[in-house]
């Protein structure tokens, strides 16, 4: 006696502000299958390389996604720099790492808020975003933008931060971290939150690996894989231990992200300690000729940039493989057989960034 209906989820939906459309085939309240449809946000910006010169294109690359914008700009610059054989001054590398980790904290805090909203915990949403605003203040002060940093540039960074300012930021981050503990404790210990996260959206280690999950989705299933261990930018000097949880459920993915926030605070502390003096940019001469793959770790997982230059000011090819794109097959797997109220929670535990995925 089951009644099979199709419930549309998105593209306009209060829980997920981004336009993805899922047709949820539902029996009573159990999801049998989720059929996605895409393209609501496809821009085709990879093809803009034909129209914008390779330096201007940094701004386009930053706008692949507004949440992890800095790492997109940084990844593009890194790929082009490798093609052109540019070695950055160390201060530029460290500043980039500093901003990348700040953007990771802000993205994870944003995610914490959204997932809290998905399971109907409005207060937690408000508190997560309240703390996030403090991070954004630091970002705005150092880069001039709140969400689109606009600080990366081929050959270095567009801005420098004085050492006094960095010290002050270090102190501010300490107070933010202290304040954050109250919120993350709720995620870790609150009964009703655990009810909504534990045992929901199981993705086994084999499935996660086979379906190509990346980032916290993969690490929540017990696979230690973090592109920061590759040692790009300042990560060559800073030890990054991949954070792994082995429960394979939504709670594990949540815990991975929460522990990553504290890890990022730790990395920023190390970056601030070791910040070398010197130039932040070098002059770029000539045009890129050749190709390169860059691998970076975004808040949502591993991101790949492919750049191919032909010796003119326009690149031949630019290609991004974003983490959400890789995480959608695991998501569809997780959605099979879950309850309808758990759909938003599961969708959010991969931290979807549809604008990344569809570019």
């Amino acid at each position: 006696m089951s009644n099979r209906t199709i419930i549309p989820f998105g593209p306009q939906h209060p829980v997920l502000p981004e336009p993805i459309h899922l047709d949820l085939v539902v029996e009573d309240e159990r999801v049998i299958e989720a059929i996605p449809s895409f393209g609501f946000i496809h821009r085709g910006l990879e093809r803009l390389v034909e129209k914008k010169d390779f330096q201007e294109f940094t701004f386009v690359a930053e706008r692949v996604c507004g949440i992890c914008s800095f790492i997109h700009g940084m990844g593009y610059c890194q790929a082009v720099e490798r093609v052109m054989g540019i070695t950055l001054p160390p201060r530029a590398d460290y500043l980039r790492t500093f901003w990348a980790e700040l953007s990771r904290i802000h993205s994870h805090l944003l995610w914490m808020g959204l997932v809290a909203d998905a399971f109907g915990f409005e207060n937690l949403f408000m508190n997560s975003w309240r703390i996030r605003e403090n991070i954004l203040d630091i970002v705005e002060e150092t880069t001039g933008g709140r969400v689109i940093f606009g600080a990366a540039k081929i050959g270095g960074t567009r801005r420098d931060v004085t050492n006094d300012k960095l010290k002050e930021i270090g102190r501010t981050l300490k107070t933010i971290e202290a304040e954050l503990h109250a919120i993350t404790d709720v995620f870790e210990q609150d009964y009703s939150v655990q009810q909504r996260l534990r045992g929901i959206g199981i993705l086994s280690r084999e499935d996660a690996f086979d379906l190509g999950a990346v980032g916290p989705t993969l690490r929540g299933s017990g696979e230690p894989m973090d592109a920061r261990c590759e040692g790009y930018a300042a990560y060559r000097d800073i030890e990054v231990e991949p954070i792994v949880e082995s429960d394979c459920d939504s709670y594990a993915r949540c815990m991975v992200r929460i522990r990553e926030i504290y890890q990022s605070f730790d990395i920023i502390r190390q970056v601030l300690c070791r910040m070398p003096d010197g130039e932040t940019e070098i002059k770029v001469k000539g045009y890129p000729n050749g190709e390169h793959f860059a691998r970076l770790e975004q808040p949502r997982g591993e991101v790949l940039y492919y750049v191919k230059g032909n010796g003119t000011k326009h690149l031949d090819r630019f290609r991004v493989r974003t983490p959400t794109f890789a995480n959608i097959p695991p998501l569809l797997k997780m959605l099979q057989g879950c309850d309808l109220p758990d759909v938003p929670v599961i969708v959010l535990t991969i931290d979807p960034c549809i604008s990344c995925a569809e570019r």
Binding site: I7, F121, N123, L124, M126, N127, S192, Q195, R196, P341
Partner: protein, 287 residues
């Protein structure tokens, strides 16, 4: 005579008081989230705006059902404040709920349908406890009449602690507060958009809001009954318990319908029925 007076006062003043309570609720919620929050009269602004808006009617029967929802809410409240039969009040309340469900189900939107289903589930979770509460209140005055219960010169909450707890538990469901804001939600967003109210717009939504205000006052009246032996205790106790509901709303995630039904029946069975049985034998033994 005073019963009729208070019934008329209820009909006239409940919207005002209910709106104010909703406003204070929103303000306090905002403060608990470290926001300034809307002005206290915000619910009235919302209501008048909704009346002013275009009424997009999905089908004409929707209006009939919504009118039924409002009318039976008022009937239930009027019966209660006139000192009438508590059982009748509970049944009228259930009937009004059914009208709301019918109104939502008459639309074609899947969100509205699921909201209606969940509303039914919520009513299923509430009703046993409401009936047990009525029975508990019956035991001391041997009457279901509200005026007789009011006349009992004993602190009822000491006799009925389990039932009061159970009633408070399902009041969270009735007031649509987290963790049980399953069928529709005032603030936080949910997977079925606005659930039961998805298809109501403009004046129709205003009717739903107004009916909720009447319902809130009726529910607060029910809590008042437990402390009615002394108004100086009863008023602060009712206010305090409502504030506790707001706090619970702000400190819990939304739970699933399975959890809602299981836990509320469990509490009805353990706290409610247990209290009832114990009290029954105590009274029989002549305490």
């Amino acid at each position: 005579m005073s019963g009729w007076l208070s019934a008329i006062l209820y009909i006239l003043l409940a919207p005002v008081a209910g709106g104010l309570i909703a406003g204070i609720d929103r303000k306090l919620t905002a403060r608990m989230q470290r926001r300034i929050g809307p002005p206290i009269f915000q619910p009235f602004y919302d209501l008048f705006k909704l009346i002013d808006k275009e009424n997009v009617i999905v089908n004409l029967y929707q209006n009939l059902y919504l009118t039924g929802f409002l009318v039976f809410n008022i009937v239930a409240g009027t019966l209660f404040f006139a000192g009438g039969d508590l059982l009748l009040v509970i049944f009228a309340l259930a009937l009004s709920g059914i009208f709301l469900v019918l109104g939502a189900a008459s639309a074609t939107s899947p969100y509205s349908h699921i909201g209606a289903e969940r509303e039914l589930i919520q009513m299923m979770a509430c009703e046993p406890m409401l009936l047990i509460a009525a029975m508990g209140l019956y035991l001391l005055p041997h009457s279901f009449q509200v005026r007789d219960i009011l006349a009992v010169d004993k602190p009822l909450f000491l006799y009925l602690p389990g039932i009061l707890f159970g009633l408070l538990y399902i009041l969270t469901i009735k007031l649509r507060k987290s963790p049980f804001d399953l069928s529709t939600s005032h603030h936080a967003h949910q997977e079925i958009v606005k659930g039961i109210t998805t298809e109501f717009s403009g004046p129709a939504l205003a009717v739903v809001e107004l009916a909720h205000w009447y319902e809130t006052i009726l529910i607060l009246g029910m809590i008042y009954l437990f402390f009615a032996w002394n108004p100086w205790v009863a008023v602060p106790a009712t206010i305090g318990l409502y504030l506790a509901e707001i706090l619970v709303d702000n400190t819990n995630a939304r739970l699933t319908w399975r959890w809602t039904v299981t836990s509320s029946w469990l509490i009805a069975a353990v706290a409610g029925a247990g209290n009832l049985i114990v009290l029954f034998y105590f009274l029989k033994a002549g305490f």
